[in-house]
Symmetry: C3
């Protein structure tokens, strides 16, 4: 049994972070808070969601750990219309998940957690390069890249951070230097990624929200969004595309 | 012969109220004003439009009653671009209806009223429950309901007014209590309605405009919109859906 | 070789002016500035683009005349996202055209100018009527006309300027008199034009920008847009439609 209260902005954001990869997800509630993790059907990307129990307005579970299976698509579709700033009551009852926000009460059948693909472990990755920037800036770079290709190269070097895409007859480079970035450690690293994944990831964050990228060379990278003023975390791990030339 | 002048906002609103049910309509002008009434092709809903002659800036008819057949779709499509607050000259001449607003003069062939389906009588209905609320609030409730089903139950009781929809695996309830409503008589009543009709009806009104619902049990209901600061009336009568369980 | 700098607003506007007629275009740079001209595949309309060299922030060419072939569609598609007011570096190198604006560098293969249809001469036209008006006003008139037909009659007379369209059962007239126009010489002239062309032309200009129309009778007309505060010129010549009655 779960009985908790969360600000609607956080509630909507974590669901939005989930739906770009999966439609059903296992939510794990323990004394530390809500944890969720899932890999997309193509095994290319993982999403990791964390909301500490201290960020809930109320947080009560009847066991040390409660795991529920949630249809995140339906839940997001309804909750996106919740007014921001309002509180959402979230509780389970009779194998249903119910959320209540303002005048609205929405109930949906829970999914047997065993029927949902098990979370993989979070891979431990050695990623030399670190880039911290406004998520809106990264989004803009991706939109330019998208005009010429569906794969993008992310590159860190002493010159800064470079987003690069090559089409058949045109190419684009978007440079993020010290002036634009929040932090650049300028370690050498370079990998290719599918743009469709990256563009989906960025939907979770608005302009002004902080994104931390950790990058290696021909290696998976991490994209951690500090959403809702840092009150929740939505992070993605994305496998690289292999260059075929 | 008709020669009258009406504020463009009222003109656009009554046409918008008509087009959700029919594309051609009989407009009846008499000493009291403009009256129009039509039933949709499926015989499920009726629209009733009234603009008192006193709300026209000028109003002249050459007989006690003038009935014209109007292609409301075309007329709405053109007039929706009229600037709000301007005056519209409306006149008939040579079996054409002409409207003039600002720099624009639009003429369209009149339709023989005899070729348009005759108005049915307004049914006399005993409807115990009365709910008066902001049309925007009702619209929001319908949008939530639409996420889970295409039929909605409207229910009045001593607890207030409830908009409820049931999907296969989820359900939604939107409660309108004393705090949200303008008036609730709290009589017992409960009927199911097609959401597509209700959502169409609501297009005629903006947030802040007043909607009066009169409701029975498994019975047609009335939805009266007080549009344009009460200067015109657009009302719908909708047959209930029969519950099949 | 070209090396020049142009404000992004002008750069985007001339590309927008081009793409409504062609996807590839010859740009001619000489001591006076940038000149471009093209006829659409149907031979109905010509676009003429001029940016004086004095409107560039920097302007350097290595020959008296440099002609390049440009994929205007791709270039516009990328540059439309450039922030207005920024400067765009434009240069050719290794048979590529490169534009740099803010953090973005975009390169695209040049097209062999010989592979692009040669510009026709600008026809010399005796056009008695002159109409100068807000491009936004003309746009509005066209949108109304579009509701009833795909051909429009433009008419100048001592009564002013009239935009008129006839459908099968309806018709529309949009009158521009002395109060609405900037200048009307009121000479007699009247021609029919395809609305799709005119609507495309108008996309290049915003509300408040000045459009000068020169009109004859059953004769091509000129539509000159004074874009970017008059710093660049985008002009169209459009062949008339022949009335078939």
């Amino acid at each position: 049994m779960i009985e908790c209260v969360l600000e609607s902005g956080i509630f909507k954001t974590i669901l939005k972070g989930a739906i770009c990869l999966v439609s059903e997800m296992r939510f794990r509630f323990d004394s530390e808070g809500l944890h969720a993790r899932a890999v997309d059907p193509a095994n290319v990307a993982m999403v990791i969601i964390e909301v500490p129990s201290s960020e809930f307005e109320a947080y009560r579970i009847d066991k040390d750990e409660v795991v529920i299976g949630v249809d995140v698509n339906r839940l997001y579709d309804t909750s996106r219309a919740f007014r921001s700033g309002e509180l959402v009551d979230i509780f389970t009852e009779d194998s249903k998940l119910t959320v209540r926000c303002g005048n609205i009460k929405y109930s949906v059948d829970l999914i047997d957690p065993a029927a949902i693909r098990k979370e993989s472990k979070i891979p431990s990755l050695e990623l030399p390069a670190k880039i911290v920037l406004d998520a809106g800036e990264f989004k803009k770079a991706l939109e330019f890249a998208w005009k010429v290709a569906d794969v993008v190269e992310l590159q860190s070097s002493e010159d800064g951070f470079l987003v690069e895409a090559e089409g058949d007859i045109d190419s684009i480079q978007y440079e993020v230097g010290d002036a634009e970035a929040i932090e650049l450690n300028k370690s050498e690293a370079k990998s290719l990624f599918g743009l469709e994944y990256l563009r989906e990831f960025c939907k979770v964050a608005g302009n002004g929200e902080v994104l931390t990228i950790k990058l290696g060379t021909n290696y998976p990278a991490r994209f951690a969004f500090d959403v809702c003023d840092g009150r929740a975390k939505v992070e993605y791990v994305l496998a690289p595309r292999i260059e075929t030339e």
